[in-house]
Amino acid sequence: MEKHHRRNQLLTLAAVALLFTLLYLASRYLSDYQVRILNNTAIFVVLAVSYNLINGITGQFSLEPNAFVAIGAYTSALLTLSPAEKQLSFIIEPIIWPLSVIQVSFIWSLLAAGIVTAFFGFLMGFPVFRVRGDYLAIVTLGFGEVVRVVANNLQRITNGPLGLKALHNYTNLWWAWGFAVVTLFFIIRLVASSYGLAMKAVREDEVAAEAMGINAFRTKLLAFTTSAFFEGVAGGLLAHLITTISPTLFTFFLTFNLLIIIVAGGLGSTTGAVIGAALFSFGGEWLRAVEEPMTIGSLHIPGIPGMRMVVFSIILILLMIFARNGIMGRKEFSWDWLIDRCRLARVIRGGGK
């Protein structure tokens, strides 16, 4: 392992360089619609990888990412709008003071989104991790609901059900994929570190982990806060991609999509989360076909809006019944594995001659 370390680093660098070259080509030659899908993919990669950190790696089945994305999106949006724009938006009740005059650049707003969300995640962690298993799922689901209700009611901060409109569409391929690469780098390193090992230990057997001197509560809190930070920034990116946010955007629906992604990819595998996110973003677009009106010969089938979610729900149930481990299981991609595969293929081909 050790001796390949340098080679693997170089390969990773080359892969990132290749990714950005492809992105450059994409930004030049692809249509707006296609670029939009690529942006979505990057944001979903960030969300899925960080959601997987708590659900898959640490094994704490929680259902709150919609809350984190909402907090991040609102924070970032409120910080980038100019005071004049905010005055125009808040027609029912004026926005509260410091927010009414603050305006920062996009990058600072993203950072603030991450920090504010991480702070909320940290605070939420204390009551949430007093419970486990099924109860954890329902309490975190409840938190998601509470955040939505609060966003609907804090008229002077969130503009209530009206939401925030006319955000600048700062999010482009560079921001989205740049942040996706940063997130991946950070989370892969975190999972490989001793903190990551502690998280996996807590997943396998909390009592045994405690006996080995791991503070399970602190480990869970670390995973939760980290996950919140990245989901918060992703929320900021999402807000500046779709440019209009309102509480209805951050329902359980969003969490459900992420859940499908990480389950399909394989709970506990970062690689799986990335593959799941890519499949979901592209698959979701292909599936739009089932929602469009179709004409086969003389037969005319009218479009069925919402059919996509029916298909996704069925996929999720079937996955649970027939392919519980998803695509990757808990395995991760590594350069060593890939090179071994290539060698093996060469040996087999050589043997065939």
Binding site: F61, L63, P127, R130, V131, R132, G133, D134, Y135, A137, I138, V139, L141, G142, F143, E145, V146, V149, V150, N152, N153, F252, F256, L259, V263, L267, I304, P305, G306, M307, M309, V310, F312, S313, I314, L316, I317, M320, I321, R324
Partner: protein, 295 residues
């Protein structure tokens, strides 16, 4: 707040609470027996509303016949869900069963959306429930009296089934130890199916009263009662049928009274249940009437 207003709100609270309680019984029975949060329970409630709606509107049935048919269909739906989705994952890790339940919930919501559209449909209250009684200055909708009455009646019926019939004995036995029960020659799958059937029957009763209370039907109407009924079940001590109804009453009354006392908090109504849930889980995780759960 004067006394009359208080009485009126109390009656509203009890009526709403008994509705939560009725739905919570279905949750608590399923959780008690197979340790699964049936996320789809609220959506079963929603489906029952649609069945009743179509019975009255499309097939021009008298309301009681439509309600009866809807209850039967909902019961069947409960059994089908258990057979199609939950039984195949019964021996899988708990987390898989939980994810399956979330999948079923989403499937029902989106099937309803695809089949019947997202626009709310008006639900007419039958004459019998729409009457308004006036006592002093307090105005009471007949439905507000019927709801707790029907809930208590069904609760008694359920207690009878659980404690006085052979099937009930088998149910209690499965909840204690599924493997041993199987070894005793009891068809565990049938008993679990029966539990789902009974829970769904109660969900249907709750659903139709819900549809009459807020006289409209939409694909997502099951979400809020579903979540709140779960909170009620936890509040009462999960696995305990009487506790579930009690939890429902407490939740309903707390919600209505809080809004009555502090109207400025009305927008936060739906968040109250979760605040209570977190409080309960921190201070008394087994609920009011619950026995300690093994970890």
């Amino acid at each position: 707040m004067n006394f009359q207003l208080f009485c009126q709100q109390l009656i509203n609270g009890i009526s709403l609470g008994s509705l939560y309680g009725l739905i919570a019984v279905g949750y608590t029975m399923v959780y008690g027996i197979i340790r699964l949060i049936n996320f789809a329970h609220g959506d079963v409630v929603m489906m029952s509303c649609y069945f009743a709606y179509f019975g009255i509107l499309m097939f021009r049935m008298p309301w009681w016949l439509s309600f009866l048919v809807a209850t039967i269909l909902t019961t069947l739906l409960g059994v089908v869900i258990d057979r199609g989705a939950y039984r195949p994952v019964r021996n899988a890790p708990r987390i898989s069963a939980l994810i399956t339940a979330i999948g079923v919930s989403f499937l029902l919501e989106n099937l309803a959306l695809v089949m019947w559209g997202g626009r709310p449909k008006p639900f007419t209250r039958p004459e019998m429930f729409a009457k308004v009684y006036t006592v002093g200055d307090v105005r009471i909708l007949a439905l507000s009296i019927w709801t707790p009455a029907i809930t208590l009646l069904l609760l008694l019926g359920m207690l009878f089934v659980i404690h006085r019939t052979r099937a009930g004995l088998a149910m209690r036995s499965v909840s204690r130890d599924m493997e041993t029960t199987r070894l005793m020659g009891i068809n565990v799958d049938r008993i679990i199916a029966l539990t789902f059937a009974l829970g769904s029957t109660l969900a249907a009763a709750g659903g139709m009263m819900w549809a009459m209370k807020y006289p409209q039907v939409n694909p997502f109407l099951g979400v809020i009662p579903g979540l709140k009924a779960f909170v009620a079940a936890v509040l009462g001590g999960i696995g305990n049928v009487v506790g579930a109804v009690l939890g429902g009453f407490i939740l309903g009354v707390a919600e209505i009274l809080l809004v009555a006392i502090a109207p400025q908090l009305a927008g936060y109504r739906d968040a109250i249940a979760f605040v209570i849930l977190i409080g309960i889980l921190i201070f008394r995780p087994t609920g009011i009437m619950g026995e300690p759960l093994p970890e």
